[in-house]
């Protein structure tokens, strides 16, 4: 199994989720994160003190899928999350050794 971790622009979340459903992905986990990268943030002004906002709001999607589905999932995310503008984000792939569904105790493929 693979853990696909994608950092995307927040407003693309729903698009990505919808793109995964047809592939049979039944679950995923999302966190709000802040990203630092080539895309430069805004300057904020507070009583004359200017803070450059280096960190931009991003969304991190973590989804575990059987290894053979990984390519398709990556492609689907990449397509759905793309705007072509700087800051679109990254997809990283990690190896997962085991998965357990807490409710039933099922493991690995069954657990996803």
């Amino acid at each position: 199994m693979k853990l696909i971790m994608a950092i995307i622009k927040p407003f693309k979340l729903d698009d990505v989720r919808e793109a995964l459903t047809p592939l049979g992905v039944q679950g995923l986990t999302v966190s709000e994160v802040k990203g630092f990268g080539r895309q430069k943030g805004q300057t904020e002004i507070y009583r004359g003190a200017e803070y450059h906002v280096n960190f931009l709001p991003k969304v991190k999607i973590e989804v575990v899928v059987p290894s053979d589905l990984a390519d398709q999932v990556i492609e689907a995310i990449a397509k759905a999350a793309q705007t072509g503008k700087i800051g679109d984000g990254k997809i990283f792939v990690l190896d997962i050794e085991r998965a357990v569904r807490i409710r039933t105790g099922e493991v690995d493929g069954e657990a996803l």
């Binding site: 407003f11 729903d14 805004q42 300057t43 904020e44 002004i45 507070y46 906002v53």
Partner: protein
């Protein structure tokens, strides 16, 4: 704002523009200021200011997404500042001096002469519309009257913001509101509330601003959101409010402040103010319950935002009626406003497909119309009776029709002029932020700040 005399006929058209109105021999004597009346009007002024900041600011700010909260607060705050200056320079003069039937004169330009009766720190009452047939003696200093009216001039354009939240340029807002206050608000206020105003003299009853404030702002909102177009992502993105708690605080402060709005419109601390406060409370509660149960029945759950919205709808609808009706009538007005505005904000809007973000039209225009017409039904004679009109203006079919004229006039004038002013603004600086700015949120894009 109770018109001291309700007359049937047309006002004098004597051209008084730019001429200070002399106190005619026929004018009533300038009364002493009454400390009790003045105390209540000072308090009412504070209450109505509180309606806009922080009341309306929070009500609207709580309904937008996190990225637009500050920009939405800023709209109410900046409008408060801008209209204060506009009103000081010319707005008050255009609205409340004698002038002619359509517009005041410039005798109070820069509030010139406001302090004319002050002697050793003491001021007298004053005459509203001196030199006109309807000249009315007031028992509070004119400075207090001017201030009280200013808070109305402030909240009216601030209400419009609900329709174009999340997408209008701040520079455009500043320009548009400045013009709108002078070209739309002041004239309509003059028509309805100045003793010489032609709408008031038709016999239209509008105690505290159903037409002048709510229908006016509501229709302007509809026009604005149609001109601006829908928000990016409308219908697909989740536009759930960031913090309904803010909206509830805002609605609560609107409610409390509205006592100043409605009971203050008696321009005195008297039985009419008391009755106006009572019917305001009752209609508001009835409307909130009306919306709540309508939603509970049709959607399965009574939402908190729904109850708050219903309360606002009730406040709007009772506004024109508040100095004229009794508790029984106010319950009917409230329930009607709650149920119908629920429908207009949740069904009508989707049917017609415009994106009135926070329902400036669906609540203020629709609620205002309901109130204006039902005022004609439930008006209780003794509350509007005067020496010259001992029967007052009791409810009647005839009165409903007159009310309809007031409504239509406002819809047409405000709608058309709003469109014209938007086009001018567009030509000057453009109306809408870029799509990228809209996605990023107005807080950062326009003001360089954000909420954490």
């Amino acid at each position: 704002m109770t018109r001291p005399q309700l007359k049937w006929g047309l006002a004098s058209l004597a051209p008084m523009l730019l001429a200070a109105a002399p106190a005619f021999a026929a004018d009533p004597k300038i009364p002493a200021a009454d400390t009790g009346d003045t105390a209540w009007m000072l308090t009412s002024t504070a209450l109505v200011l509180m309606m806009t900041i922080p009341g309306l600011a929070l009500f609207y700010g709580g309904m937008v997404r996190k990225k637009n909260v500050l920009a939405t607060l800023m709209q109410s705050f900046a409008i408060t500042c801008i209209v204060t200056i506009v009103w000081t320079v010319a707005g008050y003069s255009l609205a409340f001096t004698t002038g002619n039937a359509y517009i005041g004169d410039m005798s109070r330009f820069m509030l010139n002469g406001l302090a004319q009766h002050i002697v050793k720190g003491v001021d007298s009452g004053f005459i509203l519309g001196p030199g006109s047939d309807g000249a009315a003696a007031q028992t509070i200093p004119e400075s207090v009257y001017m201030m009280f009216q200013m808070t109305f001039a402030i909240i009216t354009p601030a209400l419009i913001c609900g329709s174009f939240a999340d997408r209008m340029k701040f520079s455009a807002l500043c320009i548009f509101i400045t013009m709108w206050s002078l070209v739309v608000y002041s004239p309509i206020a003059h028509w309805v509330w100045a003793p010489t105003g032609w709408v008031g003299n038709l016999g239209v009853l509008d105690f505290a601003g159903g037409t002048v404030v709510h229908i006016n702002a509501g229709i302007a909102g509809l026009v604005t959101c149609l001109v601006l177009g829908k928000r990016v992502g409308y219908g697909t993105d989740n536009m759930a409010p960031y913090n309904v708690a803010y909206a509830v605080i805002g609605a609560s402060l609107l409610w409390v402040g509205w006592f100043g709005f409605n009971a203050g419109s008696a321009v005195g601390s008297n039985g009419r103010a008391g009755m106006a406060m009572a019917v305001t409370q009752i209609a508001t509660a009835a409307a909130a319950l009306g919306w709540m149960f309508a939603e509970w029945i049709s959607k399965g759950k009574p939402s908190v935002l729904g109850a708050a919205s219903g309360a606002v709808a009730g406040l709007v609808a009772i506004t024109p009626a508040s100095g004229f009706v009794l508790p029984g009538g106010s319950i009917v007005i409230g329930v009607a406003a709650g149920v119908i505005c629920f429908w207009s904000a949740t069904s009508l809007k989707h049917m017609l497909g415009y994106d009135d973000s926070l329902d400036a039209f669906g609540v203020h225009c629709v609620g205002g119309i309901i109130g204006a017409l039902l005022t004609g039904v439930f008006s209780y004679g003794p509350l509007s009776a005067t020496d010259s009109s001992p029967a007052g203006s009791p409810g009647s079919l005839h009165q409903v029709m007159i009310q309809g004229i007031g409504v239509l006039t406002t819809l047409i004038y405000s709608g058309v002029m709003t469109y014209v002013l938007l086009m001018i603004t567009k030509a000057l600086v453009g109306l809408r932020v870029t799509e990228d700015e809209e996605r990023e949120g107005l807080d950062l894009a326009l003001h360089g700040e954000q909420i954490f």
